[in-house]
Structures are given as structure tokens and as C-alpha cells.
């Protein structure tokens, strides 16, 4: 689970299906392939055309549905599901999605991937007008907004509400007789549409969730779109036309599964290309190239291929690290006890090693890896990062919303190298990252249709509730640049 190594956590994965018998079972398999996007909670709501049925709980999908009877109870031809990452403080079952709201005029279920930038403000306004929230989650805001406008009808109320929320969001809504999907105006979170052989439509965070149930890819949901699926089929609408693609680059670098295809780009291929370009930008003289399993293996093999060095398995990752695992004490940790990663002595001993990783957040894992490799006999350890320095927080759904924990926000590359203890340290440039991913749909969109704000502070949206705190976290130089940019 990346959470423990990285401090980088995606907030969610969503899946929806309409028109398939065993809808909840298919949703279960879809969520299974999205489990990497969130391991703290999981849930499914199904509809049999009359009523909505729900099961959700904390824990991994397989834990939440450990009793197969729970899944069988979720009858019907339509369903939405959700896997969730959540920080420990708010990890109550009340925050596990999909949320199911029951009204005398019809139930609504809601699942959400992303993060709103004006949630605090909206929630305060709503509460002052009488709203009673049941969770800490941003997600719930949408339903309160909808209910405020409900007399205009559900779809008009939804459109109006989608124009009131800001930030990154991919929403799925399930009603008795239809499935609805909506994406933020920058398409920051991925969302795609597929179709089963029987004609049923599927909507999911990543294409790997289509593949597992043998659904054909139809198209990516585009920024600002509102997709409505009902017995008449798929209807593509939009709630705004003021859109600009800026999909989160971290999806390609780290979050998404290597087999997913996002806006036409296979994630493994993008990573391999990042590795190749990294080799062009930062060729190093060494004996072997290794990757940090599992997310960096593609980039490492690209680097090895481009530079012409053997690609080896120099680090291995345990398949059995569970949440309940008894962690080593500090004393043991200092003696080198690492449960997740092990260096392969017989591979690295006596070798000059290039280790490719996808990113550095706090840097603690990098430091451990370098030490581990040296302890296993590596004569040199060169750390090459297949993305640019991670300097600025994410406000769109990655669990890094303060700069305090970002190593690159506070230190130069040389300072980082020294602290980590590598013989050399280098990062991919933002330009190469953009070229490596090379989003075909990007058109004229800035940054090649990507959000690369984590590397250059250039956020595609206003920050609203976060603006003040963010500004305070910047140093003088960065503040000047920020203002400069705002002026343009």
C-alpha cells in the first residue's frame, strides 16, 4: 500500500454500471481493480428500478464484503461503488461512500473522487440556512445544494449545483432509474465510459476497471460533461462549457494502474517514456539499473533500455504487508528492519547501482532505500526520479495539502542528495514529463493538458478556501511569482 511508503494517497476510485444483471457483482470486480486508489473504505449501492440497496464499511473491499451475502443483498441492474482513502482522524464509517440519501420523492446515492476548494465556505452557508450534515466529507455538499434547488427538477438542480462547487471532482450519482456522471471543468480526475456486450454502460475512474469485466472502452468523460445513462441509453450533456483539460499528472506518474489508458495514453508506456527521457537528461555511468517496486518498475526499465544497461531486480517488495502488521520499534528500524522492501544482495553487491523512483515526497523512503542498497554491497547508489521535484501541495484529491511535509519545498537538489545519502540525485524536467505523457486530446491546453502545479505552483483553478493558508506557506520568492502569475 503506497500510503505507508509515500505519504501520497489518492482519495478515491469510483465505478458505476447501468443495465447489467449482477450489477453489484460487476461493481465489486471493478472496484477490485481500483483498490489502489483507496484502501480505507469501500461500498456499493445498487438499484433494482424501485429501491436502492447499500453496503459500505471501513477496510479493504474484500474485508467489507467478506460475507458474500452482503453482495447478494444488493440486487438490481444498476449500481455505483466507491473505494476510499481517508486520513485517520476522519476515518469513521459515516464518511465511507457511496452515500445514500433517502427522500420522500426518491432516493439518491452519491460517490465522489476529488476535492473541492470551496467546501468550507459552502458548508457554512448551507448550515446557516438549516442544513444538517452527516459526514465530514466534501462529498455531501452536492446533495444539499441539489435539495436547495429541487423544486426546479433534479437535473436542473444538479447542473446549478455543479456550477457552485469548485476544484477537482468526478461524481457518480445513482437514482432509482438512472446513473449520472459529472466531471469538473478541468477534468482533473480521470473518468471513462465503457460498454458491455449486452449494451450496459459502465463509468469508472480507470480503464482497468472496464477490462476486468470485459467492457469495451467508449470514451473518456470530458471536462464539464454531465453523462446520463438510463433505459434510453447514454445521453451526453454538459453543465458548463467554460472548460480546459488539466488532468492530474500524478495519475500518470504514480497513482493509476500501469494497464490503464487515460486520455489515450497507456500509463505503463508513459512511465517507460519518462524513464527513457530521464536517461537522456541524466545519463549516469553505472553497472545496473533497478526500480523501486512496484510503481517505478516501468520507468526503470525505460531508463535501462535507453542507456543500454542491464535492468535488474535489486529491490523486492513483500506481498504480505498488511495493515495489522506489527511495526518494528525505532530501535529495530535503526538496525535495518524493513518490512516492505528488501535489497537483493546477490544482485547489487559490488555493483554501481542506478535506482529509479517515481517521486520523492518526504524522502524518508529514499533514504532507507539508499542505505539498504549500500548495506547489501552496492558500491555506488544513484537515485534518479522520473518526475520533477514535488514542491507544491495538491488541493484536488491527493492527500498532500500542506507544504510542510514536502522535502523539495524546502531543500535544493544537492541538499536533498546529501540528506538522502545518494551518490547522485536527479529529477526529470517538467518539459520532459509533459512530452513523455503527451496527452493526445490536449490540443492547445496549457501544460499539455496536465496539472503540473505540484512541480511549478501553477494551479488550473482558484484555490478559494485554501488560498490564504497556501500563500502563507510560500517563501518570499514564491509569493512574488504567485502574484505575478495571478496578474497575468
Amino acid at each position: 500500500m503506497p500510503a505507508e511508503i509515500k505519504g501520497l494517497n489518492e482519495e478515491c476510485g469510483v465505478f458505476g454500471i447501468f443495465g447489467a444483471p449482477d450489477a453489484s457483482q460487476l461493481t465489486y470486480y471493478g472496484l477490485h481493480t481500483l483498490q489502489h486508489r483507496g484502501q480505507e473504505g469501500a461500498g456499493i449501492v445498487s438499484s433494482d428500478g424501485e429501491k436502492l440497496y447499500q453496503h459500505r464499511d471501513r477496510g479493504l473491499l474484500a474485508t467489507v464484503f467478506a460475507d458474500p451475502a452482503e453482495l447478494k443483498r444488493l440486487v438490481g441492474d444498476a449500481a455505483i461503488g466507491h473505494v476510499r482513502y481517508g486520513t485517520s482522524g476522519h476515518n469513521s464509517i459515516a464518511n465511507v461512500q457511496p452515500f445514500l440519501f433517502r427522500f420522500h420523492d426518491g432516493d439518491v446515492a452519491l460517490a465522489h473522487n476529488g476535492n473541492l476548494t470551496n467546501a468550507v465556505t459552502l458548508r457554512r452557508q448551507l448550515e446557516d440556512e438549516g442544513a444538517v450534515f452527516q459526514s465530514d466529507s466534501d462529498t455531501e455538499i452536492l446533495i444539499h445544494l441539489i435539495r436547495q434547488h429541487i423544486k426546479e427538477g433534479f437535473i436542473p438542480a444538479l447542473k446549478k449545483s455543479l456550477n457552485q462547487v469548485h476544484g477537482g471532482f468526478a461524481y457518480l450519482l445513482l437514482q432509482r432509474d438512472r446513473l449520472i456522471a459529472a466531471l469538473d471543468p478541468n477534468g482533473i480526475r480521470p473518468l471513462c465510459i465503457g460498454q458491455l456486450a449486452n449494451g450496459a454502460y459502465v463509468v469508472a475512474s480507470e480503464t482497468c476497471a472496464l477490462d476486468i469485466i470485459n467492457a469495451k472502452f467508449v470514451r473518456d468523460v470530458q471536462p464539464g460533461e454531465l453523462i446520463i445513462i438510463d433505459q434510453n441509453g447514454l445521453h451526453i450533456d454538459h453543465y458548463t462549457t467554460d472548460t480546459q483539460l488539466a488532468i492530474c499528472s500524478m495519475e500518470y506518474i504514480y497513482f493509476a494502474r500501469p494497464d490503464s489508458i487515460i486520455h489515450g495514453v497507456t500509463v505503463h508506456n508513459a512511465r517507460k517514456e519518462m524513464g527513457r527521457r530521464l536517461a537522456q537528461e541524466h545519463p549516469v555511468d553505472a553497472d545496473i539499473v533497478i526500480g523501486v517496486p512496484n510503481s517505478s518498475l516501468s520507468a526503470a526499465s525505460g531508463y535501462a533500455e535507453a542507456i543500454g544497461l542491464p535492468y535488474e531486480m535489486g529491490l523486492i517488495k513483500s506481498q504480505y504487508v498488511a495493515r495489522t502488521f506489527i511495526q518494528p520499534t525505532q530501535a529495530l528500524r535503526e538496525r535495518g528492519v524493513h518490512l516492505k522492501l528488501s535489497a537483493v544482495r546477490g544482485v547489487v553487491s559490488g555493483k554501481r547501482v542506478i535506482v529509479v523512483d517515481d517521486s520523492i515526497v518526504r524522502g524518508t523512503t529514499s533514504k532507507q532505500i539508499v542505505k539498504m542498497l549500500r548495506d547489501a554491497g552496492a558500491t555506488e547508489v544513484h537515485l534518479l526520479i522520473a518526475s520533477p521535484p514535488f514542491k507544491f501541495p495538491c488541493f484536488y484529491g491527493i492527500d498532500v495539502s500542506t507544504r510542510a511535509e514536502l522535502l523539495a519545498a524546502h531543500y535544493s537538489v544537492e541538499e536533498m542528495r546529501q540528506w538522502i545519502g545518494a551518490d547522485s540525485l536527479a529529477f526529470l524536467s517538467v518539459e520532459s514529463l509533459i512530452k513523455a505523457i503527451n496527452v493526445p486530446d490536449a490540443g492547445e491546453a496549457p501544460s499539455g493538458g496536465l496539472t503540473v502545479a505540484y512541480f511549478n505552483g501553477d494551479y488550473p483553478t482558484p484555490l478559494y478556501d485554501y488560498e490564504a493558508g497556501y500563500l502563507k506557506s510560500l517563501n518570499a520568492q514564491e509569493q512574488r511569482e504567485r502574484k505575478e502569475r495571478a496578474r497575468q
Copy 2:
């Protein structure tokens, strides 16, 4: 977990330590790295010099010790531990090791990796003489034998008993004041010795368990040896000198962790070399080389390197397949729902693909993989196996003791290819396998110090209780060869 894909299951992993504070915690970490050797049960027995303390249960190590208090109860400077694979029928807690036997003249704990070939006979004899067994396991036989000779003293009784049991075995025994290890006369199961900085000795199935606790490798336990570790240090004795190294080749091919070093050979390196030699024996004209994760990735990268084709990630394996996972129905399976492995469409589509796997047991997974790759757009699928055809059962601790389930026992390579649906199918030769592993300690030992009976029927020991059934399973030709060999 290999069990589900392969039908190949190792029976156990063992770990012991003497002379270290936190002995049980170190044992826990050691077992953690050996979890791939058995996922059905786990246990630890510790000694504080006066008493022995025990905890064991069904399930993964992290489940068994989900409550950290259980580990804290296991006080003392010495401990042994065990992870277990067991067929479902006998998966009662009574069979989870280490076994702890309490006697008025001193307690004994016992852990075992391997399988005896004369267990049925011994057990029947013992029962007729008054013995009451508490488990179905072979392991318990040793303690009954010891107690029959106990008036001669524990070590003499143990030596006598070790000469009565036949087959493959690596035993660990813990008494109040010493740790004992013993290996069968052919050294079929791996067992190695390490040492901590403080002088404490460690014995483990694989060196990866030494690495995690930062223990230095000392030596492999040799066939017929009896290792006694107590407050006076390490004492190397033997219970027989009629020995001949014949370590299980499947340890290198499939079971052991890639970072383990067995009799001087790093497992990853052996696998990579198997891949290279496979490329020499069976070069195929194609676009890319992919491996079946995780056990075949080393061999696949070796093949790619030798043949000069790109090594790609064409299959990915879910990290989240749990025992409790809800399995697809047959109908869904036929529609292509696979929970463990997914083909990477963006990698294989339009490509002629070489897929390298480590072995074929029943062949069902191979068949699924080929179909999966074709569904994802591969234009050709060539299946190359980095070991010889698996034709004969194992009686020394791998869970394949009948020939019925072995595809290669019943079909020619061409028949297998057709059934699997690959464009071509080829296996590594036994000779190349032996050369690829190249055990340095082998000396004049036949088959290069390896047991390769699974491929050629040439077992290093008599089969005792299994002989009759085995003979019946052979076809006429094989029976003739078997007799021929026996005559020599």
C-alpha cells in the same frame, strides 16, 4: 498467493533464533519474509530459559498476530517459528506449528519443513505401541520416536530418531535452554545459519529471513547435520554421514524469494540465467518479451536481454487478492473476469508477444493468460517455460503428490500447446536448468546437487509408503524405466 494460480504449494518455512532479546519479535520479522512458503497458518514458540510460550493459529502471520499483545507474551531470548501451507481438509489448528509438547522432564517445541516418505508406516507402528497422536501431521512422529528412546538422553534419542525418519526434512527444535536444527541426508529443503551483531545465532529456511533482521550469513546447513545452539555457542554435529546433496530445484525455479541465496546461488540470478538459456535453446521471433508476475519476471528479463527484445510489463498482478475475495461465477469467468492477472492492452496490442512463465502444473493458468493476451490485442503469443515439463510428483514437501493433475505427465508438448492455445510452446531442458543454477557446493553429486525428479522421475531417496501408488500411476514405458533405474 501462488496456491490459487499454480496448484504448487510449498509446505513450510521455519525460523529460529537463540540469544537475542526480543527473540519472538525477530522471529516474527523472519517469518514475515518466509510467508510465501506458507499462508495457511503461523506460530511462534519462545523460551525465557525457564519456560516455553506459544501462540499459533490458522491464517497469515499478520492475522495470527493481529493483537500485538500475543507477541509480547512470548518472552525470552530464544524462539522458533513456522509458516504453514496445508491442504484444506487438514487445515485444523491442531496442525499449525510449531508444536509444543510439555513433559515433566522438560518441554520441547518442534517445527518442520518437508515431507516424510515413511510416515504412515512409522505412525502405525507407534500407535500399536501405545502412542496417541494429536495431529494429522508427519511432524509429530519425530517427538514420539524421541520419547521412545528418551532414557538414553535427549540428543542421542534425537539422533536415533532422525535415522528412523526418511524423506525431505528441515527440523527446528526448541528446548528451555537450546535450539536444535537438523537437515535430511539429501538436504532437499534449504536451511541456513546466520548471526546477529550481538552474537546470537539464527537458523532459517531462506537467507531473506537473515537479511530482514540484519543477520550475517554464516553457512548453509549441510545434509545429515545436527546443529546445536546454546549458551556455549554453535555446535555442529551430524546424525549420519551417509549423505548426498540433492536440493529441490523448484526452490530455485519457483518457491524461494528472488533475493535468497541458497547454497551460494542468488535465486534471481539463477532465474535470469534460466531465461537466458531458454533464449539460447528456444529463440523466438517476436516484438516484446513479458513475464508472468511475480515469479517469472527474472526469467523473462533474462530472456529479453539474451534475445535483444524489449522487456515489457504485459501482465499485471493485483496486490489485493485476498483469501476472502468473492470469486467470479463460472459464467463470469467465461466472460473473462480474472481477479489476479490483467493484460496490459496498451503494451501488447498489435504485438507478437513472448510470455515467459516459470512452470506449468495443470496448465489452466497458462491457458487463461494466452486468451487474456489475445483478447488484449496480441497478434501472436509464444509461451516459453523456464523449466522442464513437470511430469512426476514431489514427495518431499511440495503439494503435488499425485500425477493426475500434472498436465505434462499426460500430454506431449504439442498437445499441451494446442490445449493452451499458444502459437508456440517450449520448455528449458533439464541440462540447461542444472547449468543455469550451477550449485557451487555440488561437487560430484548427481544432477549437480539438485533434485530434478519432477522432470525425470529420478528420486534421490526410496519412496517407501508412496512407492506402490506411484508405480501404479506410471505408464508402461515409465514403469520400465523406473525398474531399470532401480536396478542400477
Copy 3:
């Protein structure tokens, strides 16, 4: 658990405390004594003066707090708790109380015993105005009403809201810095105030919850009162003066613990007196008197004392009937397998037995008891009920809201006797019931300050949402009487 025998279920018990260290632990003990009022769910919310902390789940109190760490997390000097009975359909965790609502202007926790008669109407109105409900429970309505009026301040908003809800209710609310209790205008549900030696105030459904924590009884909460407890002590206010005591008579007959004192009457004493008066109204010639354990033992001993016959233990109740207990099949049941109650052969054999029970709902248990006693050798079985025939449903918090299941609603006493199979059957009169309880505070209140609607259809409040359905369930004669009464 009465649920299984009776089909009579109380909906809740509440407990609150302000000003005591270990508030949540004391709440836990208080709830423990109220467990008979609800076994489906339990929860506690505490306040440390700054924040509110919550834990709640389905199941018995001891299950919900099986991990003592959960209770320790609930820090602070104030707390409210709740035990809940719920019908299976709505037994989701979302309905387990206390509810905790978080607002930017301060959190509020809410616990409720009772049932509203205008809940459906209120909820529909609120939803149409934008409200989003999170549970199926009536309880949540109050908080939505409060938030609609919140700009007037919390207490004024609460008072206004309490005038909008109708039916039976005892509410506890906890804010950061105060504990609030409110009782319906008829005082249908019991609620009392106590005080610890250190001055801390306690509010609870029954006095047994005061006794267990050694709190002194202060007074019963009176109809229409609003009790506010904060750092300045206890403040008694009211939200309406249009009140009339009509406490639920079933609390005395069946629900409340025998040691509780409600409006000055010890429950055991009231029951014993019911037994005595039953003996006066229906003396029977027999050998022994027995009670149905546990709720009818007091009445049985009163009957025996008054009539001068030996009081014996002729039925015993298992202490070990758990929710998870495997129930006998119908076949076994017919063969007489009863898990809860057993007849004591050595006591009843050859005897003419008077068995005293507190009430008859569906009559199935009575029928079983009579058969059981005859099978054990009783020569005669006389069934005497220490309350009047239960003919009309309860809309104030007892789980009998349809007449369909009430035996006495459809049959005469003689018809019931025949169906049950007793030698004789008799009930206490309504007049004697009222005299036996003899509420000292009753003053001029009709029915002696009691709700006896279950026996005579004379409800102390309008029925609102239930009116139409109830009228339909009445036969012609009853409808006429109902209208007659309404006219008065």
C-alpha cells in the same frame, strides 16, 4: 430478552451526566442497567468542554464497547448515552443513537426515547424545504427543526421545535458545555434526575441507572419540562404548560426494571400489588402459584401471598439464550424443544398450577407454557394475567403499532382460553391496574396519570399520521366508540 417471547419491545433507554470525571464510564454503567430497554444498538457521546466524541454500533452495550479503548477515547466530564431497540429492517448503524451533528457553530448530540405521531408529515415538509436526512429514525427530525430556527438562538429554537413534534418523547441533548433534557407534554416515557456526591447531575430513563452509580434521586422530570444542566447547575424550564401526566402503564407492567421507582412507585411493589388484586378479582382453587420468569415473578408472589398458596419455581429461564443461538427447527419445536423456558417437573407434577403472567400479546408463548406445564405433569393449568387484555396498539414507543398481532383485539377471553389451552384464563381489570400502580403525582389526571390506551383505546394525544390506519383497523363497534370519545 423479551423481544423473542413477547413481541413487545421498548424502543430505547437514555442516560446523561454532566460534571463528573469518567463521564463516559459512568454512562456505560448507567446504560448497562437500561439494557433491558433496547438490545439492538448502543452508543455514547462525551464532551470535554471543547469537542464531542462518539462511539456507537449495533449490538449489546458490551459488544459495542468490547474494546475498552473505545470507551477511553470518550473523554470529558459530560456524556449522553443510548440503548436502542429497532426492527430488523432499519437496523443499520445509521439509526444507532446518540446522533452527533457537527456544525460550524457548535456540535450537538441527541438521544431519544419514544415515538412521534407526526413524524412522517414533518419529515416530508422538511425535505421539501431542502433538508437531507441521514437516518430513518424520527429522532433526527428535532435537529432539523432546531436548525430551521437557529438564528433565534439554540434554546429558543429548541423550545419552538419541541412544540412542533407530537407523541411520546424523552430527549437528551449534549452540547459542548451543557446537557439538556426534555419530556413530552404527557410524560409518556419516564425520565428522572439524580445527583452524585460531587454535585454532578444525572438524567436517566429509570432510577436503576442512578442506583448503579450511587447517584441520589432528585426528582422525576415532569411533562413539558426543559431541563438545562451546565456549569451553573440545574435549571428547570418548560417549553409548554399545556400538560397532563399520562405515563405509559406498560412501564409498570412489563418494561421497567423491578427496582426502578417511577413517579414514586417501586415497580416490583406495583407488580406485587397487581398480583394481589388479581387474586381478589380472580381467586382460583389450586395447589401452587408460579410465575413466568423474570417479569412476572413479582405479580405471582403477590397472588400467592394474597390467596395463601405456596409460591413455587415452576418455570425456569435459561440465562444463556443469546442472539446467535441456533433456533430449533419447526419439527423440533413441535417435539417440545424450548430454549428459553423449562418447566420444573419435580415442582408441578401432579399439581393444580396457577401460572401468573404479566400480559398476553400474540399468545404463542402462553400456549407453549401451558403445554409445557401439562407435559411436566401439571393436572390443571390456570393462566392469570396481571394486566387487562392488550387490545389497542401503542404509538408512543412500544413496538406494537398494528392491531393484527394482538390476540385480544380479535378474540374473546373464552376464545383465547381455548386457543391457549388453559383450564381457566382471567385478566386484571383496568380499574384494579390503576389502583395497583396508584401514581401519587397523578392528582386529577384521567386514568390515574397513566396511559392505558392499550386496554381501552383512550389515547392521551391525537394520533396524526397514524389516525387513518388506526381507524381502519377498528371494527364497527370500536369505530363508533372512538368517534364518540372524540366528540367529547
Copy 4:
């Protein structure tokens, strides 16, 4: 659960059945009624005529069989079951019965109620001869003895073995094709035989287990008998004729269910008579008589009846005290927080109260009860015990095997009264106890066929392994008496 109040714990209950479909389900119900005899573990072994099937675990019966599938797996027409009390130290699953031993010549299951006095000696001898024990329990000894003689055939070996074990025991054994029961030569533990309408035989610790499944009582098993039930019916044999009835008097006083009939005496009736005789021996001038629920209610009502005072419910016992319950801290306990028992203020306030209890072990509960009653307003509290002072330990299966914890072993009645704080304290005499029970089968047996050693030190058997320790625990006077008695 008596364990927590009393420090008196029965070690077991056993149940067996042969010849009934659903044998394991009937065993489950039988064990349900015997749950009061042991709450630490439960298990059932069934036979379908070919194989034996087993399930057992720690915890209450309903917990052990929480998954109904476990019970369904136990197919066949014969079964034995066991409920177990065990001290915490040895509460491992290995000690939960029935034990199931598998041999090549046929499996044997074994369940045991009682305690052997020569277990340590026998176990040591057996171990020196090669035996390997799997549990700490005495029970296992029998099977090792049988296997030592197995060449003589099973029944002869069993008879020989039963003559080697000493103490109190009721054994049930299940083989593929028969059910065997055996009782010690003094019949210290109760065991009875019943029959179902279909002819199937049942053997159980108490008759309440016959009643629940509608089995007719046939007879009590007599001392020294060996009962064999197979397809030919019931065969009564014996392994010794040197017998003398001395059934444990505590079964009547405290352990057995009030509805059980042991050697012709209904337990409730015996207790009521103890109460009556207590009133004759110790009449007290007071206002009301109350009992300590549940075990003392019969005696209390007998006392009240004899003395002509009202019998009231002055103490009530919570039905919801679970094992997992969070216990009050010492501080809270001193403030009077008691979870199990509550005084009924409205009953005892202002009254002179006679409280009848069945026995005093450590006296701590008695002290609490007296305080509780005074706190609730009792003006006088007279404690009357319906059995003699408990001075000497039990070696036959009650969990009191040292004198240290027995209040009456160290203090005079007046000293006890002062420490407990009662206004008066009196005990029933041994003579009256014997007369109150009045075992019809007793014949010329000393002490009326009862073991009353707990009160007078007169044990019906030699103490073997316990003799030395017991003698040391006696004071000079008691040692003299002991020797005197031994001489006779």
C-alpha cells in the same frame, strides 16, 4: 455467571446421544441446558457410523457455534458434547473437549466431568514410558492408559484403565459405532440416562438436558457402572463392584439447575427444604426475606414460607453481564458500582431484612450484598446461609483446590459476621443439609450418600497427589482429626 461472584466453578457438563437423526443438534440443545456447568469452552463430536466429526472452541456454546454451518458439518446419528469451565492459565483451545483421537484402528472421542486425584502420578509414569500429551487436562490420561492395553481389545482396556484412575469422574466416549459412559466408584458427579420416543438413548450430566429434547428419564448411572450403547441398545456393565454412593452435595446446594432431578431429588425442592430447615435452626425476627438471585431464591422462599414472613425481591441480577463487560475500577467499586446485583430500594428501605444465600466462599460478595442493602435503607441485615461453612477444598471437579481462599477455613462464624458486616450470620448444619436433600438411593451409605467433605473434611476417597499439600494446609487440630479419621 457464578464464576465471578463466587469463586466456585464446576468443571464441566457432558451430553451424549446414540441413534437419533440430528444427533449433533440435539446435543447442542442438551449442552445449552448444561451451560451453567461451564462457560469457558464447548464442543461436539458426532459419528455417522463411519467417521467422527468435531468442532470445539473457547467461549460459550452460542459463540462456538455462532456459524450454524459448523453444526451442520457434524453429521450422523450419534454425538457427544461438552461444556467446560477452565482456569484462565490453561484456557487454551487444546484443553477444550470432547477430545478426538484418531488411530489407524479407529477414532475415539472423549469428554469428562470431574477431577482425578492421581493424575500427576499417572501422567509422569506414562511420559516416562513414551507418551506424548497434547493438553494439560486430566482427561487425556484415560486414552493413554487405554492405548497401553489396546491389544486386549477396547472394552477390556477401558475397564482396566478405569481402575487405574482415581477421584471423581463421569466419562463419555464415542466411537464410530457406539457410545460409552462410565462413572467413578463413588458417583461423585451426576450422570443420568434418558430415552427419546424413537428409542435413541441419551446420557447427560443433568436431567434438564433430557427435558429440553423431550427425552424420558430412564435411570441415574450408578457408581462403578460402564454403560455401552450401540445398535443393539443399552447394555449396563461395570468395571468395579467396590462402590459406595457419595454424590457431591454442592450439586444440590449450588451447581445443578433447579429443575434437574438427581438421584430422585428435584434440586429446587432440596433447596427449598434447606431454606425451611434453616428457618427451624435459625429463626430470625425481621420484616422480609429475600434471596440472592438466582441460585438462592428457592432456599429463600423456603425460609420465608417456614417462618411466615413475606418473600420479596430485594436484590435483582442483571441479565446482561457479559464476559467482555468493562469492569469498574477499584475507585468506582468503592463508590458502590456493582454490575451484577442491585438492591431494590423500594423493597428493603426501612425494613429488617433476612437475606438467604446458598454458600460463602471468599465472602467478598456477601460483604458487598450487606453493604448494598444497608445503602438502600435496610435497617437490619441478617445473612443466613443454606449450607454449612465451606472449610475444606474439593478435589473432585469444583474449582476450589486450595484452602487459602475459603473464608470459613480461617475464621469463626462471629469473625466472619464482623468482616461481612451483617447483624447476624448463621449456617445450616451438616445434619440438616443431609436431611434436606434426603437421597432416596442412599441406603446405608455414609453422609446419606453425599460428599460433604467441603464441610467436615471427610473425603470419600484417598487424595493421592493432593494428600501432602492438603495436610500442610490444615491446622494442628485439623491434622489430628484427619489422622484420627484415617486410622478408622
